[in-house]
Symmetry: C2
Subunit: 245 residues, 2 copies
């Protein structure tokens, strides 16, 4: 069997997340059915770098799957795209080593959280940004974010997840900047806990609207209690941007 690596982009709006669930439209099942339709195999299993939640987008999700097809990668890519619905596209397909595992081998992931902070929400961003109808101070958010960079126990930013062995992660970079009428929060780490990106975004939002002082973020991190942190920001603002192997 060949082990293929595929890079996938999707608009998460109309998907119930990555992972296959009975009776739901998911990216995983949509992709697997498209590949099966081309390779004529019964059961393709696409293993991704990290499952995205319902409504979360990906610019470049990475997955791998085993297949016996003889088709070359370029032909397979084109054929799979012809089968896929227009809110998901395969951007690249390459041979991977037999041992490659898109989930286990990911060294770092980068997510972007987008907040459209105009008082009137932009209709073109309603599917691709959080729109809280408030102006934010991105400089205060950027300064507050710096206390999260590095190796920390991030359990305060984790939605309960019973099987987690450790909540220690290393954020290598956390940038906050303005892009047109949005504030973008870009976080790169060796891994993210469940809802960690969205609860960091929800926390920095409270600093950006001056509800919390900048120093509060460090206090939350040290308290190690989820109830201290801000809300989980809504899914439509979150994009998986890049996975590094």
């Amino acid at each position: 069997m060949r082990n293929l690596k595929m890079i996938v982009r999707y608009d998460g709006t109309d998907f119930a997340g990555w992972q296959t669930q009975p009776g739901q439209r998911t990216v995983q099942e949509t992709l697997e059915l498209a590949i099966q339709g081309i390779t004529c195999e019964d059961r393709i299993r696409a293993n991704c770098s990290g499952r995205t939640d319902a409504g979360v987008h990906a610019l470049a999700q990475v997955c791998n799957f085993y297949t016996a097809t003889k088709l070359d990668c370029a032909t397979l890519l084109k054929a799979v795209n012809a089968k896929l619905p227009e809110d998901v596209r395969a951007l690249a397909c390459d041979e991977a080593g037999q041992a490659f595992d898109a989930n286990r081998d990911a060294v770092r992931k980068m997510y972007r959280y987008v907040i459209n902070d105009t008082r009137t929400p932009d209709p073109f961003l309603r599917r691709y940004a959080w729109q809280p109808l408030r102006r934010l101070d991105e400089d205060a958010m950027r300064r507050a974010a710096q206390s999260l960079v590095g190796r920390h126990d991030f359990r305060c930013f984790e939605t309960h997840w019973p099987n987690r062995l450790s909540s220690v992660r290393t954020i290598s970079s956390l940038e906050v900047y303005r892009h047109e009428e949005c504030v973008r929060i870009e976080m790169e780490a060796d891994g993210f806990l469940y809802n960690m990106c969205r609860s960091i975004a929800g926390t920095l939002y409270q600093v950006g609207r001056a509800y919390w002082p900048e120093s509060k973020v460090k206090e939350i991190l040290e308290a190690m209690d989820r109830r201290e942190a801000g809300q989980t920001a809504p899914p439509q603002g979150l994009f998986l941007v890049r996975v590094t192997y």
Copy 2:
């Protein structure tokens, strides 16, 4: 009666265009119902700078309407936005002189046509760009476009429209440039014939993909025959950007 000027932004994807039509979801009817819901008047009539077709977007459509409401403009704006669905937003509302007519008084309009020319279409652009799955040469398109600038009879770019008195218009500016993974065509003129923007886009596309030489555009203009020009490009790539009074 007060005469109010309102600037409106809409994602045209799920609208059957601006103009009210029985049994269809239109921007005009949606906006008029929202205003009526606030002013408690029976019949608000929103008169726009130029009706956009089904699927066409507007960053800043301008309209005016007469109302007897006593509400100040800022309050009315906020209240109307609270009534509107999230794919249309009022960006501004101001008092206009009694004689102001958003359609008749428009001096120039600027439209943008967006072509996502990657071989794999971007799922995030499917609602907001034409995706012909071909790479285009934007430099050739820019050079070819220059023969359209100025005062010309544009009947070759007009879909049949029986009541039109004259098909002479003046294009004051026609720019073609690359913006990320898209080619943008920006056209400003004193007025546009029916489907003129989209047939200019469809014509320049044929130059961009090297199906026609650059000189063909001038020949089409001189032939004054619609059958000579390129196809009418699809509506989802077209944005009304700006109206000048």
